[in-house]
């Protein structure tokens, strides 16, 4: 019943969830068809779709804070990458003695750096449950501490955007250092298996795709639930008139902190699902460009709709895959033009073309 209430008046969301569920059923089935069939979907495509779904989840997380709370975060890729690193550390530990150096105690890059024992922050990552916890706790904690300082001292608007960008930039520089113990420049890669399933197996790939889809669905529903709740209404009030909301008596900083932290956790989960599918995580995931790209997915699809973010993420990334293969020179032109085009001519995104303004919208 709760589900129905959440999706009430959310035509776009209903449609999106229906399509998503259909995909989650159809893609594995089409994958199991014989290769000669015209409906056959290759493992490569399944993995690519899975990757898009994790991007979509990241976009939903950004839309929650940008669309409904008015915080333009230019550092959400940092939370995504932190979740990815937590997953990567678990996957590294699963390699065991199958690395190049055959050292069961230490990952290859640590042997290479002549380290003798596992650093304290790598302890516990042998266990999936611990890694899963860290995937949520590390990005959440960073967002909490960062937000705690930023929101209490009422850093808003452009200033907040710039310091979130500085945050991800600083993290990128830090993770590039070998001394940090996260593989430096090369990052973490060469994974073998997850929960005992080989990452090379087609079945595992399909499983990860389905897991990403389910995570996206749950992420969407929980964001939607927040938006529909009292908390969500206060958030929209903050977005539109922060001072007035404060004067009425709401604790603006707490509302912001709660939603920002939740959004960071979602981004972390997206990153954790992303890493086993692409097989690598390195510091370039922290680069400021990535975070800004996410914002453009959301803007393209339509801010403050949630499903618009999904649409934007899928659309822009499909275009990226197509362009970088067909006309590698032109991708940045196209992306750049997209930024300008959307902000100037499509302020409500693609979905804004098709629908009237509704409650809680921009």
């Amino acid at each position: 019943m709760g589900l129905l209430r959440i999706l009430q008046n959310d035509r776009g969301g209903q449609l999106f969830l229906a399509v998503l569920i259909a995909l989650l059923v159809a893609v594995p089935m089409m994958h199991s068809l014989p290769e000669s069939s015209p409906f056959y979907i290759s493992t490569y495509t399944v993995t690519l779709l899975g990757k898009y779904l994790t991007y979509a989840l990241l976009a939903v997380a950004v839309d929650l804070v940008w669309g409904y709370l008015g915080i333009l975060s230019l550092g959400h890729a940092a939370f995504f990458a932190l979740g990815g690193y937590a997953m990567g550390m678990y996957l590294m530990r699963q390699i065991g003695d199958r690395g190049v150096y055959g050292n069961a105690e230490l990952p290859d890059f640590m042997v290479f750096l002549n380290w003798t024992e596992l650093p304290w922050f790598w302890q516990g990552f042998d266990h999936f449950w611990f890694a899963a916890l860290m995937i949520m706790i590390v990005p959440g904690l960073l967002a909490f501490v960062f937000g705690w300082f930023a929101f209490r001292s009422r850093v808003t608007g452009v200033y907040l955007s710039i310091i979130t960008q500085a945050l991800t930039y600083a993290l990128m520089l830090a993770f590039f250092r070998n001394e940090m113990g996260f593989g430096g420049n090369n990052g973490l890669t060469d994974f073998k298996e997850i929960l005992g399933f080989s990452l090379q197996d087609d079945a595992t790939r399909v499983g990860l795709f389905v897991a990403s889809g389910i995570a996206l669905a749950i992420g969407y529903l929980s964001c939607r639930a927040i938006v529909k709740s009292r908390l969500g209404r206060v958030a929209v009030a903050i977005r539109d008139a922060e001072d007035r909301t404060r004067f009425i008596g709401y604790r603006v900083d707490r509302v912001k902190l709660a939603i920002f932290t939740f959004s960071a956790v979602l981004a972390g989960i997206a990153g954790a699902l992303y890493v086993p599918q692409v097989g690598i995580i390195n510091p370039s995931e922290f680069q400021p460009l990535n975070s800004i790209e996410v914002v453009v997915w959301v803007a393209m699809g339509g801010r403050a709709t949630l499903y618009g973010a999904v649409l934007g993420a899928l659309g822009v990334n499909y275009a990226k895959t197509y362009f970088t293969a067909a006309f590698p020179e032109f991708w940045l032109f196209a992306l750049g033009a997209l930024f300008v085009f959307v902000t100037l001519l499509l302020p409500r995104g693609v979905v804004g073309i098709f629908r009237k303004k509704q409650e809680g919208e921009l």
Partner: protein, 535 residues
């Protein structure tokens, strides 16, 4: 005995007029060359002196040739020759007659073997010759060479020369060198006096000698004096070390200021978030590169032309951006941010497609390279000195434009109260375009300066964009002085942290510091006051 005579001869030969009497007969010269072929290095020293004092016109060239490996022995005829490499073959000329002996392959020739102590001996020997050169710079160089390789014999050599020396700098160096020799004297009173004379010097040789004295001298007062002098010298070296760090910090700071100062106009005064600012800097750097392509033989002139050139190029691009995109987005800062970011991607890719995805070489003109040596432990590089001066100049010009010109007045009026300014007859949209053009042009000029310091490539701008915003925000939006002070402050802080934190960590710490600082004072070091704050 023979060596003694040779030494005397060496001293005597320093007298230019004495040279004629010193002609040594050919057989002696020949035996000297024979000694040079052998492996007895002590005898070789003597032989080299013989050659140098033989009165031959090219004696100095021969000895230098032995050091450099340009003088060789033809294996078959045992003739000593100068060699000149010419496509794999060696062109040989006899050292005595100056006749061409012919071309030889490397196998047919033999080098005179020398070792390290002989090498420094030869350098000393050549320095001694230069001591009587008429060019004071040559003499100074010679004395400095002696200073770097101290020897007890220097005192005897230099003292007579000191009487006739006229150049002050050479004199001071000679006195220092003499005192340095005296440090090795047997008499403690002489040593003490010498310590008093050298304690102001920062020459590494002096420090080494004092260290030896402080550790091994048998005379207690000498030991004490040497220790004290050593402490003083070390203090001064440390001081100069700090000065050097400060200089590097100021230099890094001025680079930050240059990169940020255009942003201080567009962001600080107009409130426009221009993420393409870094790319406007990049365009300036590429303008320098293109102008140098047109006139490759004149790097100095092309650099001078690049300054107005880059200002115009970046300024026009800036005006185009303002007219084409930004003016539709005033009052929507987050959208402006996204749109200008898109423009930055387009500009980057444009440079990659039209010029090259790789870094391009930009030449440094002559006057930009080299060192200004203050003393032996502290020197400043000219390119950084010029950049510092250039930054201050740009700042001064900008300050003048904003405070003293009509445009500046209008800019300030519009930024403080747009409606009122319009009511007073200011064409605000034109002022917006010009202001943005000014900020963009300054970014281009910064690019010219950066092209002299770092690699010029499509990613040049991205490297500075985060830093530039940090500088402007830290300094206080809308405040040029704030930008200057915060840029210098962050640069200096960065360089002082580098020795113990490492370059990357220092940068991270500065970023974290600024992030925390903004939490405490969201409006920066020097917040704007009055009505301008309200929006």
């Amino acid at each position: 005995m023979r060596i003694f005579i040779l030494l005397l001869a060496a001293l005597f030969s320093l007298n230019a007029t004495g040279k004629a009497d010193q002609l040594i007969n050919e057989s002696e010269l020949k035996s000297a060359f024979e000694v040079m072929e052998g492996r007895d290095f002590a005898a070789k020293e003597a032989a080299l002196k013989t050659i140098l004092n033989s009165g031959l016109e090219n004696a100095q060239k021969i000895v230098a040739g032995v050091l450099e490996g340009d003088v060789m022995l033809v294996k078959k005829t045992n003739a000593v020759v100068f060699v000149e490499k010419k496509d794999r073959k060696y062109l040989a000329t006899d050292v005595l007659t100056g006749e061409k002996v012919g071309e030889f392959s490397k196998r047919k020739l033999k080098k005179f073997s020398i070792n390290n102590s002989l090498r420094s001996f030869i350098r000393d020997l050549l320095a001694l010759q230069d001591l009587t050169n008429s060019d004071p710079e040559k003499r100074l160089l010679a004395v400095n060479t002696m200073l770097a390789n101290p020897d007890a014999s220097h005192q005897a050599i230099l003292e007579p020369l000191l009487q006739t020396e006229s150049d002050e700098a050479v004199k001071a160096a000679m006195q220092l060198s003499i005192s340095l020799s005296k440090l090795s004297d047997d008499d403690p009173t002489v040593q003490l006096k010498a310590i008093g004379a050298v304690k102001e010097s920062l020459e590494p040789a002096v420090r080494n000698k004092l260290k030896v004295l402080a550790e091994t001298s048998s005379s207690v007062p000498v030991k004490k004096a040497a220790e004290n002098a050593l402490i003083k010298i070390d203090d001064r070296i440390e001081l100069f070390g700090h000065l050097e760090t400060l200089f590097f910090g100021i230099s890094a700071g001025t680079v930050l200021v240059l990169a940020a100062i255009g942003l201080a106009i567009t962001f600080g005064v107009m409130g426009v978030i221009n993420m393409a600012h870094g790319e406007l800097i990049m365009l300036g750097a590429y303008t320098t590169y293109l102008i140098q392509l047109v006139m490759p033989s004149m790097p100095g002139l092309s650099l001078a032309l690049a300054i107005p050139g880059a200002f115009v190029v970046s300024g026009l691009v800036g005006i185009a951006i303002e007219r084409g995109v930004i003016r539709f987005l005033y009052g929507r800062p987050l959208e402006t941010l996204l749109a200008t970011f898109g423009i930055s991607l387009i500009l980057q890719q444009l440079v990659r497609t039209l010029i090259s995805p790789q870094n391009v070489p930009v030449a440094n003109p002559e006057f930009m390279s080299g060192l200004l040596e203050i003393n032996s432990v502290f020197s400043l590089t000219y390119n950084r000195l010029y950049i510092i001066a250039f930054c201050l100049l740009v700042f001064a010009v900008l300050f003048f434009v904003l405070k003293k010109t009509r445009l500046g007045l209008q800019v300030r009026a519009v930024s403080q109260n747009r409606a009122m300014a319009r009511a007073m007859g200011v064409r605000s949209s034109r002022v917006d375009a010009l202001t943005f053009g000014l900020g963009a042009g300054i970014a281009g000029v910064a690019g010219v300066a950066l092209s002299q310091l770092t690699n010029v490539g499509p990613n040049l701008g991205q490297a500075y964009i985060v830093d530039s915003f940090m500088v402007v925000v830290f300094g206080g939006v809308g405040n040029l002085w704030g930008t200057l002070i915060s840029g210098l402050g962050l640069g200096i802080a960065n360089k002082f942290m580098e020795p113990w934190a490492g370059a990357v960590m220092a940068k991270i710490l500065v970023l974290v510091f600024v992030i925390l600082f903004i939490q405490k004072k969201p409006r920066g070091l020097f917040p704007q006051k009055g009505r301008a704050v309200e929006n």
